[in-house]
Amino acid sequence: MAEYKVQFEVFEGPLDLLLYLIKKEEVDIYQVNLTKLATQFIEYIDLMRQFDLEIAGEFLVMASTLMYIKSRELLPVDQQVTVEGEEEGEDPRWELIRQLVEYKKFKDAATQLQTLEARQENVFPRLPGKLEFESAAPTPKPDVSIFDLLNAVNTVLRRFEKRDDARDIFEDKWTVSEKIEFILKVLAEHGSVRFAELFENAAGRSEVVCTFLALLELIRLKQLICAQGEEFGEIEIRRAENAPPAGAPVPAGPELSSEGRSDPARNDVTPEPILHQAPETGGVAEPPRQP
């Protein structure tokens, strides 16, 4: 962990972080050990949380994909299940590698664009003085009318209104601690809740992310248990039987996360791997888009 702290960087997204981790290993993308990569990725996410950095939803979705890949691998061959409808081409490992290779190429292309950009800053066009033959012709009428201007007014107004709504709904409304309270309240009333139910009424991406973070936090604090009746069935969430008193939820701190975090390398019995099958249930993998 110490080495991360030294070179803590801000990443564009989960793929960027994965490429960084692969580069550190000095192996080809095709040769990378996905299990190890998954472990490092999760460690990094944990580190970001310890630093109280906001973790974008995309990182969490990637974390669950990686955990899924890893959990599949950890099963002995004869117990590995072929997911219905999953064909050769849809191997999640392969899909991830394909995505990484593609992203890497565009990242390289972006670097080349950056070189061109810097070069253009130093290129000066010849800008001769005006030729003097006779008096300059009058400037021709431009191809624009007052209606274009009015149209622009309407566009500004529409966007302004939309922006105000958006701010209300997505920025101010949801916090992780509210969602923790909400989940605990639901469980106190109903005893258990289906995973997908928690997201049914989500108004947008940020609410989904808050709810998901709240769930992770409660699981980490051993307040909840996730159970799955049948393989790839609905995930059910219950209060943990020996749950410590619900008290005020503690924000992620170093001592808590080191104690509460399961070592993702071991196939132990914490509910985490199950939770990370979320993409199969359709609960978190595709959070609704903001309008």
């Binding site: 000066f124 066009p125 010849r126 800008l127 001769p128 003085g129 005006k130 030729l131 033959f133 006779e134 300059a136 012709a137 400037t139 021709p140 431009p142 191809d143 624009v144 009318s145 007052i146 209606f147 274009d148 201007l149 009015l150 149209n151 622009a152 007014v153 309407n154 566009t155 500004v156 107004l157 966007r159 302004f160 922006r163």
Partner: protein
């Protein structure tokens, strides 16, 4: 890097003839730049005689190359000029009425906000548009459609912007009063820093209604017909 090529690039890019003194000043300024490299620094105090020798060599080279232009020294100032035999086409070029490029949507929107809310600061425009407007402000200022109108009575006294006479000409308007009413746009509340106590209310913070339109036009605005939503 050869001195003559540096001189060539300067004369080729200059908008007017450059004297030896002006060239010497450029070398001095380039050597002063923060990121000046060794070459730039070594030319800081170049002597006139060296400059003249290099210029003459350059002129000779271009003479030999026999292209459509040459390097000429007129009244002590150096300039690239075209050879006279190409005048027929150069006249046709000057006579060409080249339309200015169309304004982009962001430029139009920014222009609309400034037209209706002038005088307005850059920060206020950004607040309404919700994005940085530096690039777009530069475009419309370069096109002469918008200019600095004064300074706001806010902290830092930021410049305020307004539309120009060319703006009116561009859109075929006789005056700002001819702008179609857009009450909504005037109503968007932009957070302004509180005005200093010493300023009379109604000067710096006058509501835009009063600035944009006279009270007579206010009525016109109220009764104005529905604006075309998709005109143009």
């Amino acid at each position: 890097m050869e001195l003559k090529f540096i001189l060539e690039s300067l004369l080729f890019s200059a908008q007017k003839p450059l004297s030896v003194k002006e060239l010497r000043d450029v070398f001095a300024a380039a050597a002063e730049a923060e990121d000046a490299d060794a070459t730039a620094k070594s030319l800081a105090k170049i002597r006139d005689s060296e400059l003249i020798a290099a210029l003459e060599q350059l002129a000779q080279e271009h003479e030999t190359a026999a292209r459509s232009y040459r390097l000429a020294c007129v009244a002590g100032a150096w300039q690239f000029v075209s050879q006279p035999e190409y005048a027929p086409w150069l006249k046709a070029l000057v006579g060409q009425k080249i339309r200015p490029p169309r304004l982009s949507q962001p430029a139009l929107e920014t222009l609309a906000i400034i037209a209706y809310r002038q005088p307005i600061t850059r920060a206020e425009v950004e607040q309404i548009r919700g994005v940085n407007v530096d690039a777009v402000m530069q475009t419309i200022m370069e096109r002469g459609l918008v200019d600095v109108a004064g300074r706001a009575e806010a902290v830092g006294r930021p410049p305020t912007y307004g539309t120009t006479a060319l703006f009116l000409e561009y859109f075929g308007l006789r005056s700002l009063r001819d702008l179609p009413a857009a009450d909504e746009l005037r109503k968007i509340v932009v957070q302004k820093p509180p005005a200093p106590v010493t300023v009379e209310p109604g000067l710096a913070t006058t509501p835009p209604e009063q600035l944009a339109l006279g009270s007579a036009e206010e009525k016109k605005a109220e009764t104005a017909p529905e604006q075309p939503a998709n005109g143009g």
